[in-house]
């Protein structure tokens, strides 16, 4: 898949939240529903300004986040590319509908600007506490794509990516950014339309009588018509057969559940996006994501200056967890350091991959402050 290429283009000085909006609009987003919550509110505010100005754009402020995601799913079923943004407590409320999005295979994008938690927590401080919730928050076994962005430019790029993956795999995609990135202003380049690919959901080509809404295809992703386009079918949150009607037959239930995983798992190379910095000869490697990856980048640079063979694996896809990239890193590195603004959520995944080969060190910080380069450097130089 073509990632947005960087080229001198229109530049703006924008907040991370603004960049999300720019990215979404570039990706063809024309529907927003949500509920305001710090620190994601700017996304909603700017969407309220912009969407009425684009053809067919619509915006609605709902009574809560449950309603927000509900409206987004409804709009997506009606053929729109829909976005909602939220933060900690709102994300918790959305979990019910994330599961609905998974089982009905509705493409949608949720931006979660992570703030300190649990509960109301620290509304205006950064954290990375929602990582495992994004993966496992909704009940039932399910497959989902979770992305992250570490700076303002990435907010734009990963939002486009999130829409493309959602449409391609008919799945909810969650983009996790943290309060720092969301509220940092930086110069970003807005790519030309020719410079990035926009993927739209596959529409059925067969006559409506032949259409089976949840039939297996080569990619595992069934085509998806919009409500009102002549294909009348049933959408349900109950486990359903290929016709979309509820079923409890074990063979049909298993087939559905396995396909929901298979459709993403067979294309991991497409879904898993990582950035490797100085990893070729790294003996000590940092695995980081979000704003912490920025600190890690500086720390790795400083460590290199001090003669430590350090490297950084920056995760842009958090789930499905980039196992291959991590294994590759562990091939050479003796120590892996995982700095996170939580008590160890991605380090769990790293340890699962590790299998006892290397020593995994974690740096955990939950005081509402970003992990500084100095803190990472300290560990980097000690090991």
């Amino acid at each position: 898949m073509a990632r947005p290429k960087k080229k001198k283009n229109k530049e703006i000085f924008a907040l991370g939240n603004e960049a999300v909006v720019e990215g979404a609009l570039l990706a063809g987003c024309d529907f927003y529903a949500g509920y305001p919550i710090t620190p994601s509110s700017e996304i909603m505010e700017i969407m309220a300004q912009r969407l009425p100005r684009i053809p067919n754009g619509s915006f609605v402020q709902m009574e809560d986040e449950i309603g927000g995601l509900g409206a987004v799913i409804g709009a997506s079923l009606a053929g729109r590319k829909a976005l909602t943004a939220t933060s900690g407590p709102g994300f918790s409320l959305m979990q019910e509908h994330i599961g609905y999005g998974c089982i009905t295979e509705t493409p949608l994008v949720i931006v979660n600007v992570m703030r300190g938690g649990p509960s109301t927590g620290l509304p205006t401080s950064p954290a990375q506490g929602d990582v495992q919730q994004a993966r496992w928050g909704t009940h039932g076994d399910h497959s989902i794509i979770v992305l992250s962005a570490s700076n303002v430019q990435e907010c734009l790029e990963m939002t486009i990516e999130a829409f493309n993956l959602a449409e391609k795999y008919r799945t909810p995609v969650i983009l996790l950014i943290d309060e720092i990135t969301a509220h940092t202003r930086e110069k970003i380049t807005i790519p030309n339309e020719a410079e990035f690919e926009v993927f739209n959901r596959t529409l059925p080509t067969m006559p409506p009588e032949w259409y089976k809404p949840y039939e297996e295809t080569v990619r595992g992703v069934p085509p998806m018509p919009a409500i009102g386009s002549g294909y009348r079918f049933h959408v349900t949150g109950l486990t359903h057969d290929v016709n979309g009607f509820p079923t409890s037959r074990p063979d049909e239930v298993r087939e559905l559940n396995e396909r929901l995983f298979r459709k993403i798992d067979q294309f991991l190379h497409d879904v898993q996006i990582v950035e490797e910095i100085d990893t070729e000869d790294a003996e000590v490697a940092v695995i980081a994501y979000g704003t912490v990856a920025r600190s890690a980048e500086l720390a790795v640079k400083q460590a290199r200056d001090l003669g430590v063979k350090a490297g950084l694996l920056k995760l842009k896809t958090l789930f499905p967890y980039p196992r291959k990239a991590t294994e590759k890193l562990m091939y050479r590195a003796k120590t892996i350091i995982v700095p996170e603004m939580n008590m160890g959520q991605i380090s769990r995944e790293v340890k699962r991959v590790n299998n006892g080969q290397v020593s995994v060190r974690t740096i955990n910080k939950v005081d509402g402050q970003i992990i500084t380069p100095a803190e990472i450097l300290k560990v980097l130089t000690r090991v």
């Binding site: 016709n243 009607f245 509820p246």
Partner: protein
């Protein structure tokens, strides 16, 4: 405070349904209809039998509605409108039979294979 329509446990016994005599005696329409009941679809709730002004239907020993006095039917339409299972069809006799295809198609409408046990599914709610 609002009270629902199904309140009392010790409510008075409800009287028998007495149809409007004008309607009953409209001899004009009497005996001009065919009443069909699809036994596969009928769940035997008895609404049609209880409210039919001229008692066309009765419940048989299997608990399903059957047509016993078709010639009495005045085509008031109550049973058709009130059958929750779409199992009753009242048609004018002029056509002498049910329009092509509709009867067999509807009686044998159950799909092959899609076995469901929806009634056993207890949902959140």
């Amino acid at each position: 405070m609002f009270r629902g329509s199904f309140v009392s446990r010790d409510r008075e016994a409800y009287g028998k349904f007495t149809p409007n005599p004008d309607q009953v005696m409209s001899a004009k329409s009497k005996g001009k209809s065919i009443v069909t009941i699809f036994p596969d679809w009928c769940k035997g709730c008895g609404i049609c039998a209880a409210f039919c002004p001229v008692k066309v239907m009765e419940l048989n020993d299997q608990g399903k509605a059957v047509v016993v006095r078709e010639e009495e039917c005045i085509n008031c339409g109550f049973c058709e409108l009130h059958c929750p299972d779409f199992a009753i069809m009242v048609q004018p006799k002029v056509d002498s039979e049910i329009p092509a295809g509709s009867k067999s198609a509807h009686v044998n409408a159950a799909p092959n294979g899609s076995v469901e046990s929806e009634k056993s599914i207890k949902e959140k709610g």
